[in-house]
Amino acid sequence: MKTTDNLQYVFACLATHSYIISRMRNNFDEVHKHFKLSSQDVAGLKLFMDTQGERLLTSAILMEEKRWREMLPAIKYVAAVVSKDELKSYWLEYLTSIKAVENIPVSTLSEAINFLYYILTKYTTGSLLHEIIQYEIAKNTVSAFDSIDTEKTIYPVEQLTDDDASYRVVFNPSYLIVDFNLPISKIINDLTKGRVVDSYNNKIENILFVKSRVSNIVRTISLHPVASQLLRELINCKNLKSWKQRVASGEDTYQKFLINMMDIDLVTIEQIGGEHYVYQD
C-alpha cells in the first residue's frame, strides 16, 4: 500500500498547476492538503520552494501560457466574439478548477473541449455564444476522434444490383449530427468574414460534422430536412432495402444522397456476405 507520494509525482502535479505553487509559496502547509510526503521529502521540498520556488512557478506559468496559445486556434470563433480579457479570465478560472492531483488534458483538442464545456455554463442556452461554443465543441470532438479505418472500401453506387437487401451501409465512426437553435452556418460564415452580428433569428439547423479518414479534416455540412431524415434513417437501417422502405423517395434521390455521403467519406457500402469493393482513387 502506498504510504507516501513519490517526489517526482509531486513535481509533475505542481508543474502542471501553477496556482498550487502560488498557494504553497504563500503557505507551505498547503502541500499537505494535496500530497502525502515523507518527513525527508517535506524538508527537501520546503528548501526547494525557498530557493527555487519562483523558477518552478515561472516554468509552470510558461507551460500554461503555451497550452493557452496552442488552444486558441481550436476556439477561434469563440475568441472572435468574447473579448480577450474575458476569455483569459475564464481560462485562469478554468485552470484553478483542475485539482492538484488531476491530470491536465492530454492534448490541445481535449483541452479546448474541456475549456469550452467550462465556459458553456456561463451563457444562456440558445444564446449566440452558447450556440457558437456548442459548434466548436462538436467540431473539436469530431476532430479528436481517432482515424480508425484507413482503407477506403467503396462500392460504386452505379454498380449496385437491384437487390437492395444485399447491401449495407458502414459509417465512418468520426462524425456527429448536432441540432442548433440559430442559423449556425450563417453565423460561422459571418465570423469567418470578420462580421460580428449581435442577433440572429431563431432557426433550427442540423449540422453534420465528419472527419475525412484520408485528409483528417473535419467538414461541416448543413443538412436540408430531407437529407437529415435520409441520414438519420440510414444510421439505423440494416440494409439499403429497409432504409428505402423507411424514407419514401425517388431512386434518383437515394443515389445522389449516397454518392454525396460517400464523397464526404461518411459512409461506405458493403455487399452483405460478399466481397468488399475496394475503390482506388
Binding site: 513519490n6 509533475a12 502542471t16 526547494f48 515561472t58 516554468s59 506559468i61 492530454v106 484507413t150 479518414r213
Partner: protein
C-alpha cells in the same frame, strides 16, 4: 550499442501539420525531416507526411517515453515503438533526458530529473531496454530546465556523460538548450562541450530562444541566436555531426525565413565540418 555511421543527412526541419504543404513545396531545400515518434502511433495516414517521406530521409524524435521517471516503460509504448521502427524507414530515433509522465500524471512538457546516480541507473536501464528492440541508433537529448530538481549530486554535463556512456547510445545535442541553460544556470557552454562525449553526438538541434519573466526560454518561436550559431560552428569542427534539425514551432510569418535559416546552417556545417577536413 552505438554504431558510428558515415552518412551525413544534412540539414532538416521538424514536421508539423501546419507547414506540411510548405515543406512539400520546398522539398529540394530540405535534406531530411524529423517527425515525432508518437505521431506514427496514432496518425497513420497523413497525406503531407506520406509525400514528404517519399522524397527525403526520416529521423524519429520521441516525446513521451519519460525515460527519467521512476516507473517502468509502459508495454503499450514499447509495442508501438517496435512496430513503428519496423514499419518506417528512419535513419535513427531519439528521446529526451527528462520526465514527461509519472504515476498517471501527464505533464505535456519536458521536466528535469535529479542529477544523481539513481536517475542515471534508471535511464540507462530503460535506454538498454529500448535499444534491445532494434539495431537503429538511439540518441538521448539534453533538455532546457529552469530549476534543478532536489537531490541533484552532480552537474548537468557529468550527469549526461554518465547516462550516454553507460547506456552506450548516441547523443542529440540541442545547442539552443545548452545555450539557454548556460545563461539561466550561469555556466560556460564551451566548458560543457569539453566535458560531454562529443564522439557520440549524431544529431544537433538548433532553435530560437527569448527572454520571458527574466529567464531565457527555448520558445522555438524566433530566429536562432547568433551565440547559438557560434556554439554550433565550434561544435562542427569538434564533432562529427550527422544531421542538424532546425526546430521552429510558431511565429513563422513566412516559410522562406525558415528556408533561409536552413541554407545558413547548411553553409556553416559545410564550411566547418570536421569530417570534411
Amino acid at each position: 550499442m552505438f554504431i558510428k555511421t558515415d552518412q551525413c543527412l544534412g540539414v532538416g526541419v521538424n514536421f508539423r501539420n501546419e507547414i506540411g504543404n510548405d515543406i512539400i513545396h520546398h522539398i529540394n531545400e530540405i535534406d531530411f525531416i524529423e517527425v515525432n515518434t508518437e505521431r506514427f502511433f496514432v496518425d497513420k495516414n497523413n497525406l503531407h507526411l506520406d509525400k514528404i517521406l517519399k522524397k527525403i530521409p526520416l529521423v524519429l524524435h520521441g516525446l513521451t517515453l519519460s525515460v527519467g521517471a521512476d516507473q517502468p516503460i509502459e508495454q503499450t509504448y514499447l509495442d508501438n515503438l517496435s512496430s513503428t521502427l519496423s514499419s518506417v524507414n528512419c535513419a535513427w530515433f531519439s528521446e529526451h533526458i527528462s520526465m514527461t509522465s509519472i504515476n498517471g500524471i501527464e505533464v505535456r512538457a519536458l521536466m528535469p530529473v535529479s542529477f544523481n546516480e539513481d536517475s542515471i541507473e534508471r535511464i540507462v536501464n530503460k535506454t538498454k531496454t529500448i535499444m534491445s528492440k532494434t539495431d537503429k541508433n538511439f540518441l538521448l537529448e539534453n533538455i532546457t530546465y529552469y530549476y534543478s530538481m532536489p537531490n541533484s549530486k552532480m552537474n548537468e554535463a557529468a550527469f549526461i556523460t554518465e547516462v550516454i556512456e553507460r547506456s552506450d547510445c548516441g547523443m542529440l545535442l540541442d545547442v539552443n538548450n545548452l545555450y539557454v541553460n548556460s545563461i539561466n544556470h550561469h555556466y560556460d557552454p564551451y566548458d560543457f562541450l569539453e566535458q560531454i562525449p562529443k564522439e557520440r553526438i549524431v544529431e544537433v538541434h538548433l532553435a530560437g530562444c527569448d527572454y520571458r519573466y527574466d529567464m531565457l526560454v527555448d520558445t522555438h518561436a524566433s530566429q536562432i541566436k547568433k551565440e547559438v550559431l557560434e556554439l554550433f560552428k565550434y561544435l562542427c569542427s569538434n564533432a562529427d555531426i550527422k544531421g542538424v534539425v532546425i526546430e521552429r514551432d510558431s511565429n513563422l510569418d513566412s516559410f522562406s525565413d525558415l528556408i533561409d535559416e536552413v541554407r545558413l546552417v547548411r553553409d556553416i556545417l559545410k564550411k566547418n565540418s570536421r569530417a570534411r577536413n
